[in-house]
């Protein structure tokens, strides 16, 4: 029932940067869900619309890194 988030691609729907709480939209369980997001590397910043890859997650919070498309 529980699908793993690790390694999934996500689209940034709220700016992800250190010092704030971003949001990514993940295609999961047949639909899309919004997760709170933080950058895995605190120096990185992801603006809305960019694709990221999830490196870790805890509950509804995920850590993302730049997606190597």
């Amino acid at each position: 029932l529980s699908e793993s988030l690790y390694g999934r691609l996500a689209r940034v729907s709220g700016r992800v940067a250190a010092g704030t709480v971003g949001e990514v939209t993940i295609s999961i369980r047949g639909g899309t869900e919004a997760y709170l997001a933080h950058p895995a590397d605190s120096n990185e910043t992801f603006s809305v619309g960019t694709w990221v890859v999830i490196t870790a997650h805890s509950g509804r919070t995920v850590f993302v890194a730049a997606a190597d498309l």
């Binding site: 029932l1 529980s2 700016r15 919004a34 509950g59 509804r60 919070t61």
Partner: protein, 504 residues
């Protein structure tokens, strides 16, 4: 036979029916918008968290599950969307009090962890979930508004959602809830801040509207004025043309009206010309008459008068010449007579001077003799008197001392008075002083002749006169000198010289 055959068939059918009913009563299906929470008898499907700890119940979404009655309990948790209306009074980042009316739309997360968290908190209180969330989220909204400005709330949707996540994300996560949307529906602004925000723009728009209206009005007025001007111009042109026509008409009319008088005047002018010619000829005739009757006789009279005057003038000239000749002759005779009289007078004076000189000579000799005798007598007399007087004077001296003193005072006063008089009228004082001294002056002049024995005159009467004049002149010189002493301002003209050429 047949009944025996039906019995097992009926039994099988009943069994099947029972089985179906039992299965039906045990099989639970989860709707797409709900999660079944099955607790009770553990089985292989029990959910585990990441740490491997068992949750102790099974979560079933989107499918069916056989539940054993009595050992397992099924509870359903709705995953539907919830809405909580919020109305909070708060203060913005700029300190402006506002009343914010908003709506938060949330649901229970679709992952097992969220369902687990929510199930543990709300399973029996699903109808009260909105109230709980309202209470929690009012505080979050207050903090969200407090970290934003009014402008941001109105304009920056991205910032609003970001702030919402920041302030409430973790806490809602604890409750297993996720926020789909936060909408601020209304901002009530008692201080009029938002209204004031709009005012500059409103003013600009109003200004532009007024400018545009004024410009349009101006253009319309200009067009109207131009049209009016053109109309006026047209009217003027028409009036000018009409006036021109009227003038021509009037001129023609006037000319026609004046034709009669003009002809009359022309006729009169011809008459006047003829009359003038007649008058001129009459004047010429009168002039000829006057020339014959007045001018010619007057000219003749004038010529006669001129001839008469010339004759008279000639007569007067001749008379004057005769008179001049007579006067000339009379003057010559008179001169001759005067000349003879002068010669006789000169002779007479010469003789008188000679006689006078002789007389003076004799008188001088007599005087000298007399003076000599008097001097001898007086010398003797003086010697006798001197002896007598010496004695007398010695006695008198003392008396005279007193007298002299008194006289000195008197003379001082007199001098003082004379000085004042001299200041006021120097000429008079001088003449007075001279008059007092006059006997001594004459005596001194006469003394020049005291020692003269012979008085020879070389050139007759003229020499005697010269000698006398010199004597008198010396006296006069003395007089002038003395007078000069008293009258210093008058220029002394004669040097104080005495007789010098009389001694033989």
């Amino acid at each position: 036979l047949s009944s025996a055959l039906y019995i097992p068939l009926i039994g099988i059918a009943v069994f099947i029916i029972v089985v179906v009913v039992v299965f039906k009563s045990m099989w639970r299906v989860a709707q797409p918008n709900e999660a079944m929470i099955i607790s009770g008898l553990r089985d292989r499907g029990t959910a585990t968290d990441t740490a491997g700890d068992s949750m102790g119940f099974r979560i079933v979404t989107g499918k069916g599950k056989l539940v054993i009655p009595g050992v397992q309990v099924v509870r359903r948790l709705s995953l539907d969307l919830h809405q909580a209306d919020l109305f909070v009074e708060c203060v913005t980042h700029q300190g402006i009090p506002v009343q914010v009316k908003g709506t938060v739309i949330y649901k229970i997360g679709d992952d097992n962890q969220s369902i687990t968290n929510a199930a543990r908190r709300f399973l029996d209180q699903q109808d009260q979930m909105d109230q709980r969330v309202h209470n929690v989220f009012a505080g979050h909204l207050r903090s969200i508004v407090g970290s934003m400005t009014v402008e941001n709330m109105i304009q920056d949707r991205e910032l609003l959602t970001s702030k919402t996540r920041e302030s409430s994300g973790d806490e809602m996560g604890k409750l297993g809830l996720i926020i789909d949307s936060l909408q601020i529906q209304e901002i009530d602004d008692p201080t009029g801040y938002i209204e004031n925000l709009a005012k500059p723009h409103n003013a600009v728009i109003a200004s532009n509207a007024r400018i545009a209206a004024a410009e349009a009005d101006r253009l319309a007025t200009e067009a109207e004025q131009t049209a009016d001007a053109l109309m006026g111009q047209s009217r003027r042109d028409t009036a000018i043309k009409m006036a021109g026509f009227q003038a021509e008409q009037d001129a023609a009319t006037s000319q026609a009206k004046q034709a009669g008088p003009l002809a009359e005047a022309t006729a009169r002018q011809a008459v006047v010309d003829q009359e003038t010619e007649a008058a001129r000829r009459e004047a010429a005739r009168q002039e000829q008459i006057l020339l014959a009757t007045v001018v010619r006789p007057a000219e003749a009279q004038r010529d006669a008068d001129v001839a008469s005057a010339q004759a008279e003038s000639r007569v007067a000239v001749l008379k004057a010449e005769g008179e001049a000749r007579r006067v000339e002759l009379e003057a010559g005779a008179a001169a001759k007579r005067v000349e003879l009289a002068a010669g006789a007078e000169a002779k007479r004076v010469e003789l008188a001077a000679a006689a006078s000189a002789k007389s003076v000579e004799l008188e001088a000799g007599a005087a000298a003799k007399r003076i000599e005798l008097v001097a001898t007598a007086e010398a003797n007399s003086t010697r006798f008197h001197g002896e007598a007087e010496a004695d007398a004077k010695q006695r008198v001296g003392e008396a005279e001392g007193v007298a002299i003193k008194a006289r000195g005072l008197a003379e001082a006063q007199a001098i003082d008075a004379r000085a004042k008089a001299l200041a006021t009228n120097p000429e008079a004082v001088a003449m007075q002083a001279l008059a007092e001294q006059w006997p001594e002056v004459v005596k001194a002049a006469a003394s020049a002749f005291d020692h003269i024995d012979n008085f020879t005159v070389l050139n007759g009467a003229e020499g005697v006169n010269e000698a006398m004049m010199k004597v008198v002149g010396s006296s006069m010189a003395s007089f002038q000198f003395v007078r000069g002493l008293f009258v210093p301002k008058e220029a002394p003209s004669v040097a104080p010289s005495t007789t010098e050429s009389d001694a033989p």
